[in-house]
Amino acid sequence: MKRFICVVVAIVVCASCNRAAPPSAGSGKPTVALVLKTLNHPFFVDMRRGAQEAADRLGVTLQVQAAEREIDVEKQMQIVENLIQTGIQALAITPSGSREIVSALVKARDAKVPIVVVDTRLDQKAASDAGVHAETFVGSDNYEGGKLAGEYLVKATGGKARVGILEGIPGHETGDSRLRGFRDAVKGSTGVAIVASQPANWERDQGFNVFQNMLQAHPEIDAVFACSDLMALGAVEAIRAAGKTGAIKVVGFDALDDARKAIAAGSMEASVAQFPAEMGRAAIESAVKVIHGEKLPDDIKVKLELVTKDNVK
């Protein structure tokens, strides 16, 4: 134990010496950090690609980091704290928790690192209570996307449908907004009834199981809205297993490659496309503008598009 204390003391002493020489950025290029929710989802992989292209074009160094799991906001907070230490000039972040991440952003603010929020909005109240100000928000509106899906489903079913919904992880801003948008869009059509709504936690295998169970309980279901394509694709397989392909219209979200294939093959009806690479590009461009002292609009909207068999490629 004594030796342990000695080592700790030694570390602290060294550290204090080191503090006299503040670390510099090294090369002349400014460094921008992009903190993603995760890197094991095609959406964020595309976002990184777009960001990297923009960074190369604008001559900035890009640091991309992400937690292992999408919902691990504590880990994301640690990443932000650690990146601030490396003297980044701007931080672009897709918050894993709209309220929770604010605590980490307070530290960025204190270190005078400007913040660009991407894809998932900060909770406005939490941010203003903590005095955190994002330079801009880059993203597409998940609520609008959900609405787009709902309006399409009403049209495609001629206003008569028994809908089963696959939700994302409960309490997740992205999924909640899509869900609200969808519900608001179908509310007006009396022929459309939502008969079941269950979380499948963004996952493909859970999408399969949950929808299979749903179909057991509600064999009358003839339409599905899944808050993400992975869950939608799970449902597509469950429908195939039940021998009901084509009889149940599936609408997803994200327009992943697999979903586009399913739409082209007719096993899926439609999916709402976001443009993550576009988001990544706009995020880095915004960050660079902030570094150069330019003022940004509060919102930078990235387009949404409904992919159906008419426009799938």
Binding site: R3, T86, G97, D123, P170
Partner: protein
Amino acid sequence: MNRARQFGTLIGLAVLCAVLWILTPYFLTVSNLLNVAEQTSINAIVAVGMTFVILSAGIDLSVGSIVAFSGVILGIALRAGQPIAAAIAAALAVGAMCGLGNGLLVTLGGLPPFIVTLGTMSIARGAALLVTEGRPISGFTASFRVLATGRAGFVPAPVIATAAVYLVAHVALTRTRFGRYVYAIGGNEEATRLSGVAVRFHKTMIYVVSGVMSAIAAVILTARLNSAQPIAGMMYELDAIAATVIGGTSLMGGEGTLGGTLVGALIMGVLRNGLNLLGVSSFLQQIVIGGVIVVAVLLDTVLKRKR
């Protein structure tokens, strides 16, 4: 032997720090080391309970879910306008009750700890989601958040809390009868029972300790995030087991120290921090962390064989 092993882990930590010091100018600064200490605190506290359980040759897979469940109870109590002390007491009580359930099922029910705590892992997680309807509870007063944002001099509050927890737990483990029994139960439960020790009672209490530690971690986590999330604490059990095992505690029970566990938790915290600072890809980070766990246990086994 214990001392030698503990010293080995400490050398590992020192080497790791030295390597990072050489590789990046950002590592060895006061503010970064304080970050590491703060980031490590939650895992370190959960790992205290895990060390007690593993020393007794058990395992507790439910710690992460108990963090979530006691956290949301804390959040609900605070939101309902309860005084901070009462809300924390409620959270600790929830942690203790979960631990008590684990302990009783293991001792009176005669079930393997792995199965019991696997069940509790799901039950506590479900309970946390149920009482919150899946939504995080957030926005607490500054006087509560001080538990994470406060500083004594320059030391963050979570670090002080961790130090206090380790001090108390270390004394309990090495200077009290309860602590002796933890080792004895892990070493040879039957012999311990035959020598007249109330094994069932003490074993149950070990799981209660683990539950309470999870609840303490939940208090810090909730203050840190300014939010009590029902999905918080996922995979904490694996981090805690890793810290305990890297710290030299034997999964067979009866052998290990809390000092080792603290160093184990620090190794994981320093490693994550360093990999972030170096900008290592997050996929590679997982490989490195997994590798360190395996190498640490391998060293342990080799050292034991030599003995």
